[in-house]
Amino acid sequence: MTYRNELVVDDRESGVFRVHRSAMTSPQVLADERAQIFDRCWLYVGHDSEIPKPGDYVRRTVCGRPVIFLRDSAGTVRVHFNTCTHRGATLCREESGNTRVFQCFYHAWSFDTTGRLIVTPGADAYAAGFDRSALGLRAPARVESYRGMFFLNHDEHAVSLLDYLGGTVEYLDLVFDQAEEGMRVVGGTHRYSVGANWKLMVENSIDGYHAPTVHATYIDFVKNSGGGQNKAALGTGAGVDLGGGHTVIESTAAWARPIAYWEPFFGEEARPEIEAKRAALTDRYGVERGTRMAETFRNLLIFPNLVINDVAAITVRRIEPVAPDRVALEAWALAPHEEREGSAALQRRLDSFLTFLGPGGFASPDDVEALESCQQGYAAQPDVAWSDISRGMSRIPLPDDELQIRTFWRAWASVLDSAGFPDRVEGVESPGTTRTSAPAAAGAVRS
């Protein structure tokens, strides 16, 4: 089987793009995804600000595999698989902490923070051929970082992380350069899971089409909170195919941003500080780049499963497939170091984050409802077997078109077919077609 054409139909001549819903329900598809995508692509693990001191660690599960993300005693950031090389017990059983040694609770084998096996109780019981040095903690084939963001790759022949990130680097820089003293992950994680395929969460994270309907109550809230929506933002920007399956929607900020776009939502008392930050950005980066950093929203997808939304706050969201119909999410808030704990600036940022985002926000719960209802709708297969993602193929894409979602699916099918990443789409995808007129009346039903 080939994924392209059989599960993803990209008909540029007619301007039609369809995805077969078995892509969201089939265990075989998930197995193929694990082997062809998740075992070959760079996968986000964490940010080094989460483990600032030597010996700091956090536990993570990255595409089903348990890892320890840590800073060793010498200060080097590492990733170890979180399983004892003796007989497999979970080595690190606390969510986070600081240690010099990981001692397995099962038979007390002990490993230092570099992963070296240093203690095997009853060492005289082992023969000469028993090689302790070969029994250190295992690490993923590759671990590399960009701006403190650490990724792993199970394929030792993979391209470098920087090459892989490609066109996303420009956007990551626009996020990270907002900080004067560097960005950090704020303590506190949104951990939840959704009864939907992981790709529905990817689609939703880069979908500008659903906001007026799914988030009507949020938009009403913004209107009523005195801020009003920035009218100039409506319909600005566009989805962009960044190559390598990565994609971004960049658009004029529709509402307030902690760095740095003041709206009444933040309160009059915050205005001087935010406007000073705005001015400082222009000083550091010039008018054009400073304005872009301060006054645009960015919804960035790093293929396959990392989303960075630089909107009313900055969120890093990791998407973890669990089963064909279940996805686990972890989301963090990024903040500049200079927004100190306990400061009004940090609280403003976090409150702004929570208003829209997260399981208790005014918007994300309705996304979850939409995703789960799609997944439930897929039970109508095979009678209803296809989803349509054709919006905007015959024009220069608008932000509420679906180019960025097609970008993901094209890369998805191509990588699954072992064909590498497809060529970037630039310009109009289906220039030969024009907008359809109203659909003709339905034909007679067979009696």
Partner: protein
């Protein structure tokens, strides 16, 4: 807790009655009536599951609502367009282990209680379990809620997916 408060069963009974009445309003989705229980400066917080001790000016919370935000949350939940709660879920709040820990100098009571909030919708029931922390302001025989915070025992919201109700 002072010995006086621990043995002041009359005070505790009044606090219990108040919390039970509040729970009934929430279970019955009488959210506008529930708002009447709150002081003008009320805050409502739910910390993230990995940081039950989290504070809104240091930590990413699940919910950190000022009074205007609580009002907005209720407006949203009363709308037919809050899709996660339209139609409304059924909820059942079980509250116990109510303790009056202290009386502040301004007369506000510090109260804790355990909760199990069952939420049923779309063929599934899940439980939010944890501890409430309240600051109650005496108003005659009744109280006003100046602060309420729900600290969850769950390590994640894998069962729940969201926190779309008022805990």
């Amino acid at each position: 807790m002072s010995a006086d408060l621990a043995t002041d069963t009359a005070l505790r009974s009044r606090v219990e009655d108040f919390l039970y009445a509040e729970a009934a309003l929430l279970d019955e989705w009488r959210l506008d009536d529930w708002l009447q229980l709150l002081s003008e400066d009320a805050r409502y917080e739910v910390p993230s599951t990995d940081r039950p001790d989290g504070r809104p000016d240091t930590t990413l919370m699940l919910i950190s609502d000022t009074r205007p935000m609580i009002n907005a949350r209720v407006t949203r939940l009363n709308s037919r367009k809050a899709h996660r709660e339209f139609p409304w879920s059924r909820t059942r709040r079980i509250i116990g282990n109510v303790r009056v820990l202290a009386v502040e100098t301004d007369g506000d009571l510090q109260v804790t209680a355990n909760f199990a909030v069952y939420r049923t919708r779309s063929g599934r029931t899940h439980v939010y379990a944890g501890r409430y922390r309240y600051r109650l302001r005496p108003r005659g025989e009744a109280f006003q809620i100046a602060f309420r915070r729900a600290e969850l025992d769950q390590e994640n919201l894998d069962e729940h997916g969201t926190l779309s109700i008022i805990l």
